[in-house]
Subunit: 278 residues, 4 copies
């Protein structure tokens, strides 16, 4: 095994001890870099610990640079990595500090900060290391088409209700344009209710009441969709596998395969015979 293969095993795989240790170390560095970006945005902390932050920023950037180079070197097809989603994210989370060196004029500090915030894309890396969410995400994926139709209806309702509220309340009471009316409608439908804009006229308040009651019923829909999808997964079938056709999603009380009609009990026996024979 060449050193490239060894590096590949450590960086890209998580089966060996070294691979796992690398993943955990990377996770810690990513979270640390996120905490840095977040804390740096707080004015009084940013001023006090400025030198510390700059140094830590450089250490993390160098770590990410080495990691990025090793990822490119150790993979067989570097291009497929570089232009993959995580390849681009890795590049964008490494580059900002170097760019700030080149364009380091006095006034460029703010734009630099904006670039550094791109570092937040590192969080996408976090997602990569959590395979455990699969069950929930499967239920969500299967719910997606229904949820899109739902969102589509919500948008239509928002456009109509937003226009009506704009006409009824008008610019005097904060509804300065239809987009603002739509914004208010979504704030209301989703039951967020900031209160920055709110109806003042009796008619406006009456319509608002209707929208809220509608939102009350409407909030039930995505919940119902996701719940039904999750409950479906619960009732999903036992682990019997048909020996004849390989079908493995049988009803719990099935005695024969619903696909090929082969006896499931026979399947069990034959499986055992084979296991005993071996």
């Amino acid at each position: 095994m060449s050193w490239r293969e060894k590096v590949h095993e450590v960086i890209y795989e998580a089966d060996t001890k070294a691979g796992k240790a690398f993943d955990v170390a990377l996770l810690i560095v990513i979270i640390l870099s996120l905490v840095l970006v977040v804390l740096d945005s707080v004015d009084h902390i940013s001023i006090e610990y400025h030198t510390l932050f700059v140094n830590l920023e450089w250490i993390i950037t160098i770590f990410f640079t080495i990691e990025y180079i090793l990822r490119i070197i150790s993979i067989k097809k570097p291009k497929s990595y570089i232009f993959s989603f995580y390849g681009i994210v890795d590049f964008l989370s490494t580059v900002p500090l170097y760019v700030s060196l080149i364009f380091a004029s006095s006034g460029a500090l703010l734009s630099l900060r904006a670039l550094r915030l791109l570092r937040v894309f590192r969080v996408f890396k976090l997602v990569r290391y959590s395979g455990a969410g699969s069950k929930v995400s499967v239920a969500l994926k299967r719910s997606l088409p229904k949820i899109f139709i739902f969102l589509y209806s919500v948008i239509i309702i928002s456009v109509i209700a937003g226009t009506v509220m704009y006409l009824v309340e008008g610019p005097k009471h904060g509804f300065t344009s239809i987009p603002r009316g739509i914004y208010w409608t979504i704030v209301t439908l989703t039951t967020v209710g900031f209160g920055d804009i709110h109806p003042v006229t009796p008619l406006g308040q009456f319509i608002a009441t209707l929208i809220m009651l509608l939102g009350y019923g409407v909030i039930a829909v995505p919940t119902g969709i996701v719940t039904a999808e999750m409950a479906k997964e619960n009732t999903r079938t036992n682990t019997q596998v048909c020996y004849e056709c390989g079908e493995n999603e049988h009803r719990d009380d099935a005695e024969f395969c619903h696909k090929c009609g082969y006896s499931l009990n026979k399947s069990k026996k034959e499986k055992k015979d084979i296991e005993d024979a071996n």
Copy 2:
């Protein structure tokens, strides 16, 4: 096939290539006209692009006019279309600009804008082109009677709680009348909580707490209704009946009875044979 039949096929049906293309084009024009109305309500955009908006408005209006005329000509019973829901919507979304020509006095501009906003009814057209939402809407329709009883209870609770809050807090703290108290109660029950009106006295805050906890429990009801209805649809098996053992709860993709292993397709054929024999 006469030209009328051809036009009918293009406009009213979506089976042919031309029919599909027309539907997509219409969808784009409707969304464009909606975007125009929305953007025109934003003051600074409206002033800057005034001429462009007027021109686009005319192009869309002419397009809708031609479409409207073709729809009337190509259908066998024009009256049933004209007085149908979509017939009226189509008419209302075409007419405003023409009306503005006739009543074009200097002060009529504002009322014209109001008329133009009726154009938003075009969004109802969008609904027509989405047949995919049927599953969700079936579950919703079946939930409707329960949801009505629920809304009825919510209104009774709102009237009582609104009156109590009006008595407790009074006009001093924003509860200027019972309708306003009802408005506040619904804002609170639906967990929207704008904060434009809020209880100030300790007793009022205590009652508000009870209303919120009630709303907490109450929000569960429509969700429960819709979810249960959707879950019902999930477990809804197909109607195949095994000819051999009579078992009738088969998986949708079952080809053999899971109880006795008899072929379901054979069951169908035999059933048909018997029916044919009779």
Copy 3:
């Protein structure tokens, strides 16, 4: 049939044509009286239509008085009616205007208004006439014990979180006492979020974030309870009745009564035999 029995049939029962007509008429009068109370609380409407409101108020009061007297006369045990829940509600919704005659001093107008608002209790009458909500209410009743434990937990969480917020934010930022902290916590946990009080310090905002995420998880519980209860009702069993013991809640695939072990198929046959014999 004496006239008392006739009156009883009209007022207390809804089987005959006259009985139904009376119920509908009563419903309309109750809603009308509610609308009157609500509108009377709006200042400018109250001033403009004062005489009309007073007259309508008297007509409704006389109607309710006659109804109340007829209810007492036509029932066998008047006491059981008078001291029943609806008996008291009927009395309280009839009396206010008469009381205002006796205590009609100049300053008593406000207290009169308060008394008149008791009329809102008439809405409880509305509940009586809606027997359709039984299914939903059955599911709710069965959920009650679980919901009480849930509310109990919410109150404990509120007391602790309210105290912590009172200590962290203090009277400066609106958290003037622990009850106010508890009020804020419930406003937040139930996702109402008025914004009349809100955390200002970073630590307070951090704790608020935790409370909100907790509330996010917690809101799932009552929904889950009610939904599960409603879904249960859906899967609830077929309509087979055991001929032997009368048990009627069997599993859908039951072939023998789970209570007495009697064959359900036999039950069907015997039932049919009896029906055929008749």
Copy 4:
């Protein structure tokens, strides 16, 4: 039975009459002490009833002291109690008033108050006495891993959205730092919506709209998880197995097998006979 064993039975167990009476008495004292702490935080009540509160505080403290000592004496392994969760809670809820005697300088009153608020931990005691919540808590426990993944995703979304809002809206409109942006995002995602900070720029409001719609879909997930878990528990039949046919999905109240009609009680007896025979 020694007096220690008698005390143990009264304090730690709830089977005997005396044990139940003690539990109820303790519950009342805990709630009373909580009410005292809460009322004492309200300024005008605290001033008026100061002497009463101090006296009641001492009575409760002495009661808790005796209870704490008896708990230690009557148990076999005092250490395991003292360092258990409830042991520490009991200690912390007893000690504050004694500590205030030792450090009773003039300025220490405020810190004393803080110590006294630790008494709120007494509420944890309340939990001990409610064994009824087990069903709900079992469903919640089984939902925990899914809910953690969900919270993890919510935090990632919050960090990204909070940063974007900080960049878009900036310190001018209240988004003074990324942590504040994250706070706002969670306030919005959980549909609380205080309104203390809210987007002002059109772009910010557009992004807020997306976050709200996302939150709308996201709120469905924990609800779905808990509901599915609770529904699962509903369908969870008991563990009776029919001795005759082996069917094992009986209704909880089944006395005979619904498949073969064999007595389940007989099944239990025969099973026991066989076990006894072996």
